[in-house]
């Protein structure tokens, strides 16, 4: 039988000591507000503000028309560069793309000689290089076509392609990057705070003290999970409702309370994982490294940053075991596809099951953990 009174008492103690560490508290607020804000507004997962340099050796109406075709938000205003500056500028990553319009380009187009333009792409900027090249290609051919027809009538293609982006019509990436930033913050916080709280109790000898009292190991662990998870849940509330919805004014397709509930379940997992990692480590220093080694792949391979389809097969299978992968999937489903509980329950269940497993493992290791002295 678990004693709720014990859990309640221990939770109070956890929260008191957590909030007493002011530097930590400031870091937490910073991560949940400014960091999420900077990431949501400053970075993007689609092509925005691509940097383009243009070498215009034609100086014609057509070349000007093409240059004017590169508009925000996808492109920054194109910068004119001299031919001999191109290499240096690209070496220094000033531009991801450099478009070279050759001399007599307009004349050749009008004469039907089908001239060639060159687009230099910095292929080390993997994320933007491919999609940016596509956009540039279509801008160039649209502008050339319009120039020839002198009007912007129908394309004249035999089949009209009607492209629709389902669920996220404007490809609004702010919500997505914001939600992913929040995921990373709570993932770090939950694993670290809960795990380190346990490590610290062992280092300070207070854990032993608890265990000679009529208190169960499971009560200690649950109190840590609830207390730290609760504080972090409060922080994510701040992040979601104040930063993302309030300040940035973002609207989502699905239900925010559902997303919030999913976050709470995820927090249970992350906190349980923190406890588990702490029972594996012999010292705070080991725990710190273990944290990095586990946390980073969980985030980087979750599908939040890179498309899962691109991974090798073995890794795609392996990431099924990452709760972050399921959390990202359900975030996309709720935020942009408007999915409800009937769609995302398998993910929720998977996350909860992994949390329960981590909890069970930690419980099994607990006595062993206690007897390990530094």
């Amino acid at each position: 039988m678990l004693s709720l009174r014990n859990i309640w008492q221990l939770c109070g103690k956890e929260i008191t000591s957590l909030l007493r560490d002011r530097v930590l508290f400031i870091f937490m607020i910073y991560a949940c507000t400014l960091m999420v804000y900077a990431q949501a507004t400053g970075t993007s997962h689609d092509l925005v503000r691509a940097s383009l340099g243009v070498v215009d050796e034609d100086h014609s109406a057509l070349s000007q028309r093409i240059i004017d075709g590169f508009l925000p938000p996808r492109f920054q205003a194109p910068v004119m560069v001299a031919p001999n500056e191109v290499d240096r500028a690209m070496d220094h990553a000033r531009f991801t793309f450099v478009l070279n319009i050759p001399p007599d380009f307009q004349a050749d187009v009008l004469a039907g000689r089908s001239p060639e333009m060159q687009l230099l792409i910095d292929a080390t900027a993997v994320m933007q290089a491919g999609i940016g090249a596509n956009y540039i290609q279509s801008i160039v051919s649209d502008e050339t076509g319009r120039f020839l027809r002198r009007d912007a009538a129908a394309s004249g293609d035999a089949v009209e392609l009607k492209l629709r982006i389902a669920f996220n019509q404007t490809l609004e990436s702010t919500w997505f990057t914001g939600a992913m930033a929040l995921l990373q913050v709570i993932n770090m916080l939950a694993i670290l705070l809960t795990g380190a709280a346990l490590m610290r109790e062992r280092e300070h000898g207070t854990l032993e003290h608890l265990l000679v009292m009529p208190v169960r190991a499971s009560e200690i662990m649950l109190a840590k999970i609830f207390a730290n998870g609760g504080v972090i849940l409060g922080m994510s509330l701040l992040s979601l409702y104040v930063v993302l919805q309030g300040i940035l004014g973002l609207r989502i397709a699905g239900s925010l309370p559902l997303f919030f509930a999913a976050t709470a379940i995820y927090l249970f997992f992350a906190a349980a994982l923190g406890i588990f990692l702490a029972t594996l480590a012999r010292s705070m220093a080991q725990f710190a490294l273990l944290f990095i080694l586990v946390q980073m792949p969980m985030y980087m391979l979750s599908g939040a940053l890179t498309p899962l389809e691109a991974m090798p097969d073995w890794l795609q299978t392996a990431v099924q075991l990452l709760p972050t992968k399921h959390y990202v999937a359900l975030t996309q489903a709720i935020l942009s596809r408007g999915a409800g509980l009937e769609t995302v329950w398998p993910e929720l269940l998977a996350i909860f099951a992994m949390g329960a497993a981590a909890f069970a493992f930690s419980l099994a290791r607990f006595r062993n953990f206690l007897s390990q002295q530094q």
Binding site: M35, S51, G112, A123, V159, A181, Q184, T206, H209, V212
Partner: protein, 707 residues
């Protein structure tokens, strides 16, 4: 005090004032006491004695109570090959004060832990109140009080909170808890400290609080593991009087371990423990008499020699440390001493080397992460699942779908029965692309009436959606081109765009990502490694070494950083070898530039860890601070994912003042862009600027004295 007995001359100080000075014998004679400790108390001015006047003689114990409440039979504990406790036999009677005497590391603590159920015994058994000790027995736990070696109070809680928490955890009802706390506060004189945070209390007060907490539930047995170490004589005397009162007036059985001989003589009975074995048990006077020894200490040594061991081996085991580890006594002049720097660096290295698991995590962890990320972080989107809803079913519509399924980017995942089904499958993330061909597609096409194909792309992940969009228009155009060719139309474009992927002609993600990952790996792991260095000493209290030794802050900081820089540099070399030989990324540019940039970069990254370590108060805060300060800027704002030139606002700002941005350009430049040393120099110089800044900030934050 035991040690002081051996000195030829002793000076007793209280509140910065000399109380007395002379040989131990003189001092004892002067105060008319038998031991130096009592002499000290006797020589104190009356108001400083805390009401501890005169000799606290041990009131005789009623010998009629022989109920055995703590019993050990053949209690043994092994850790691997090492036997910490070897067949210990104990029987402690109700109301007895039983002392447990032995050097550090002889097994006292382990024995006590087994008797409280904290540690399972490897062999043998312990009994409390005649019942075998079991970890799960709560009724037994309610009858025991325990005080561990370290003051195991919650340092962040106040005195009141500590008392109330323990009362509640022992299951005391609220009213009872308040009543007991009040009584204990009065009794242990804690009133003025009630709302003070435990960490800020003087040692003596903390000790009183620890005892108060241990007896809040009126236990019948009190197990105390070296409760008085580090406490001044007055507080110790008060503590002992309280123990005597508990034992004599309330019949509490007290099992106390100590390495102070003066304390041992005050027990009813003692057990000498040595190297895991109990070598003698009995009343102090009996043991002395049996060996014909003048003092208990001599008796202890005599028993130890009887145990057949040479005296040298029996000295308490010191932790093996090289002599350089303690700060040199001589004070070299000048603002920076290489010797003191080396001493600190040496000590930190020893700590690192003693923890092979941590070392292995740092090295193999880097290798492992590199493997996972090198293959896992890729932007080559292909095998996109799609479903078609063909409402036409003519050769033309099939040809249109064929344009997609023929491309290696797409993979057909069956068909949808209707529009809803298509959306349902998109929503469930079964497919990322849905194609709907309207009825009459083929007929319209033949008659030259532009039909309209609808395509849905999953916009959940913007990057993927845009990439798919590009592929879709590619597939669509290839259908159109093929159609035009069949109709014999000209397909020449008015102008063409030749794309040249520079630096990475094949546009392989791996060639660009692997060098970029250098910046991430060499930031996160070194920063986390270095971040506990200073703050852990502060949390343990050993930072006082810095306050008392003439080590200058800069020497201390550099000494703390040096081992991690070396370790991180091994990672630079490891990663370089992996990039070339495992991932097959050619190193086209300057190796020297890469290695030089790498050195400056790990100086900066360990520097961030060190800096966080200096301005945080707890290890948790340092860890989280370093994680927040490094992970997000490295992953998002340094050009790893998205070129820095396309960031905006705060992200752009953070990106341009973060070292990863510049080292990323160095490593990508050296590997993929094929830049020579001269071209790399601007990035290397920018990276170099960070270390001095971080070091200077750390220097400012590291206060030489406690405030």
């Amino acid at each position: 005090m035991d040690e002081a007995e051996r000195f030829s001359h002793v000076v007793m100080l209280d509140q910065g004032r000399i109380l007395a000075s002379g040989s131990p014998a003189d001092l004892k004679a002067q105060s008319g006491t038998a031991a130096l400790e009592q002499a000290f108390i006797a020589l104190l001015p009356r108001e400083r004695r805390g009401g501890l006047d005169g000799e606290s003689a041990l009131p005789p114990r009623q010998e009629d109570d022989t109920e055995e409440v703590i019993v050990a039979h053949g209690l043994t504990r092994r850790f691997g090959d090492f036997t910490a406790v070897d067949h210990v036999e104990l029987d402690i009677h109700r109301g007895e004060i039983f002392g447990f005497l032995g050097s550090n590391g002889c097994g006292k603590t382990t024995t006590m832990k087994m008797l409280t159920g904290l540690l399972p015994a490897s062999e043998g058994e312990g009994f409390l109140f005649g019942q075998p000790v079991s970890a799960g027995d709560f009724s037994l736990r309610r009858r025991i009080g325990y005080m561990a070696q370290s003051f195991s109070l919650y340092g962040e809680l106040t005195v009141r909170q500590n008392l109330m928490l323990h009362a509640a955890l022992y299951g005391l009802e609220n009213a009872k808890a308040i009543e007991r706390s009040k009584a204990l506060v009065r009794h242990f004189d804690l009133k003025e400290h009630l709302d003070a945070v435990a960490d800020t209390l003087p040692m003596g007060v903390r000790q009183r609080l620890s005892l108060a907490v241990a007896i809040i539930h009126d236990p019948e047995i009190l197990i105390l593991d070296e409760p008085t170490s580090g406490v001044d004589p007055v507080a110790r005397e008060g503590f002992w009087r309280e123990l005597l009162r508990l034992a004599r007036e309330q019949g509490v059985t007290i099992f106390i371990s100590t390495h102070y001989m003066t304390e041992a003589t005050r027990c009813d009975r003692v057990a000498f423990m040595h190297a895991g074995r109990v070598i003698a048990t009995g009343a102090p006077t009996e043991l002395q008499a049996a060996q014909g020894a003048a003092t208990l200490e001599e008796a202890f040594i005599a028993y130890m020699e009887l145990g057949g061991r040479a005296a040298e081996q029996d000295l308490p085991a010191m932790t093996p440390q090289a002599p350089e580890t303690s700060a040199p006594v001589a004070t070299p002049r000048g603002w920076f001493s290489g010797r003191r720097f080396r001493a600190y660096a040496w000590r930190e290295s020893i700590e690192l080397l003693r923890d092979p698991i941590r070392l292995a995590f740092a090295l193999f962890g880097t290798v492992m992460l590199m493997l996972i990320f090198g293959y896992g972080i890729t932007f080559d989107v292909d095998n996109i699942g799609f479903a078609a809803l063909d409402r036409d079913g003519t050769p033309e519509s099939r040809a249109y779908i064929e344009a997609y399924s023929g491309s290696s980017y797409f993979q057909r995942q069956g068909d949808a029965p209707d529009g809803d089904g298509l959306l349902q499958r998109l929503r469930g993330n079964k497919i990322a692309l849905g194609i709907e061909i309207p009825p009459g597609f083929g007929a319209d096409l033949r008659r030259g009436r532009t039909p309209e194909v609808s395509v849905w792309i999953d916009g959940g992940m913007p990057f993927r959606a845009e990439t798919i969009e590009g592929y879709v228009s590619g597939a669509h155009n290839s259908f159109l081109t093929e159609l035009a060719r069949q109709l014999g139309q000209s397909v020449t474009q008015p102008a063409s765009l030749v794309m040249r992927y520079r630096y990475n002609q094949a546009f392989r993600s791996i060639d660009a990502m692997v060098p970029a990952l250098f910046a991430m790996m060499l930031m996160l792991i070194p920063a986390i490694l270095a971040t506990l260095g200073v703050v852990s000493e502060r949390e343990r209290g050993s930072i006082t070494n810095l306050y008392v030794t003439p080590v200058r802050k800069l020497e201390f900081l550099l000494g703390k950083q040096a081992p991690y820089v070396v370790l991180a540099y091994v990672n630079v070399l490891l990663l370089t070898v992996m990039a070339v030989f495992v991932f097959g990324v050619p190193l086209k540019g300057s190796l020297f530039g890469l290695l030089l940039g790498g050195l400056l970069y790990v100086l900066a990254s360990t520097g961030i860890g060190l800096l966080t370590s200096c301005f945080t108060r707890s290890q948790v805060a340092a860890l989280f601070g370093t994680a927040v300060l490094t992970i997000m800027p490295t992953v998002h704002f340094s050009g790893l994912m998205q070129p820095v030139s396309t960031l905006q606002g705060g992200a752009r700002l953070i990106g341009s003042v973060f070292p990863a941005t510049y080292f990323l350009r160095t490593s990508v430049g050296a590997f993929t862009k094929g830049l020579g040393l001269v071209d790399l120099l601007p990035f290397i110089a920018a990276t170099a600027a960070f270390w001095p800044v971080f070091l200077a900030l750390a220097w400012l934050f590291l206060r030489k004295q406690e405030t």
